[in-house]
Symmetry: C2
Subunit: 216 residues, 2 copies
């Protein structure tokens, strides 16, 4: 389910098939006029997960999962639970040209409406997989990197052309079984003398993806 004109347009533009589009205005999407079911604003409000519903809400087919990636850069998420963080990471992958995200089974569902909303439409352009992460990372044919609190400073690393970068859960980090399969552990340097415990996983992803692309 995607809400709002911009998100619905982006999801449509990425080629995901709409099942039904509900709107209070038949002319909101001229190219999809025949797909739109007109509803009153009270009905749209009841369907919406947002406090201030937009003019349009679309229900889409969940894309078929493609084959697991074996090349390029892959982001692996190990138990990321927060829909806003997940959505932001998908958007970041889109920005940094990462085509695949591989998630552990206990990572939040990427089709959770809050995730879809936070991606701002990027969800249609990044392939997302759910699988046994230990096995995926352990068998990936290139180097694996994990973001931890006591790893090597990222600015000292020259990232290879292919690899997998594992990000852990907000509260527990990377699970022991996945950590045991990693070739490298890396960290973002803290500069303040403060007691800030850690960056959240979305902020850490922004910095890591920038650094990963920067060094190539």
């Amino acid at each position: 389910m995607a809400e709002g004109l911009k998100t619905v347009q982006e999801v449509l533009g990425s080629g995901i098939t709409p099942k039904i589009l509900y709107s209070t205005d038949k002319n909101v999407l001229p190219d999809h006029e025949e797909d739109i079911t007109l509803v009153g604003s009270k009905v749209l409000e009841r369907m919406s997960g947002l406090k201030t519903p937009n003019k349009i809400l679309g229900v889409f087919e969940i894309p078929k999962e493609s084959a697991l990636p074996t090349n390029g850069w892959v982001i692996a998420l190990d138990g990321v639970k927060d829909p806003g963080n997940m959505g932001t990471i998908i958007r970041l992958c889109d920005w940094f040209g990462i085509a695949h995200i591989v998630c552990s089974g206990d990572t939040v569902d990427c089709y959770n409406p809050k995730v879809v909303q936070a991606t701002m439409g990027s969800i249609g352009r990044v392939h997302i997989h759910y699988t046994d992460l230990k096995s995926f990372v352990g068998h990936f044919p290139h180097d694996s990197f994990g973001a931890v609190l006591d790893g090597a400073p990222i600015q000292d690393i020259t990232f290879p052309k292919n690899g997998v970068l594992v990000l852990g859960s907000e509260s527990h980090g990377i699970s022991t079984e996945v950590k045991d399969t990693l070739h490298h552990t890396i960290s973002i340097r803290q500069y303040g003398s403060s007691s800030t415990e850690s960056l959240n996983v979305a902020m850490a992803s922004a910095i890591l993806l920038h650094e990963l692309r920067r060094s190539q």
Copy 2:
């Protein structure tokens, strides 16, 4: 107003004076037992801005604004409206050792409870000022940098020891009057061939602050 044990502890730890602490449990903060007013969970729920209220809610004195900074690195926010973004930026400044944030009058109030919550307690460790941003940036005695979509790539820049970095609003970027005072405009490179319009201001801040500290 700060909610939840961790946030209240962090705010107390940063030396901000509590006016009153409400809790359902007198023993939740052993050092502040006499400051705590015991309330029922229904009362706490009514006071709380959270869906799932925590055990404690504190009302604090707003710290006195210190003098505007003239040295070091300063982050300037021009019309940032989203409380979550503002809170994240405060937390990032704390992590990257940035002591001052200077905001335009139309930037969201940093004492908005949603901002306080998103800072996870960092708000007590970063000085935040509201002033005429054009005048502040124009008179700051070091180089000024602004994050825009078509500036110089950040990885090519060696940042000086002192400076101000201006970040604009989520929808309009940096205002023309502030942009006219800037020495440098800088950008984060996009790697995807996608149509992602821009990174949100909190994600951009994460990358820019990392890069700023990295190059020093």
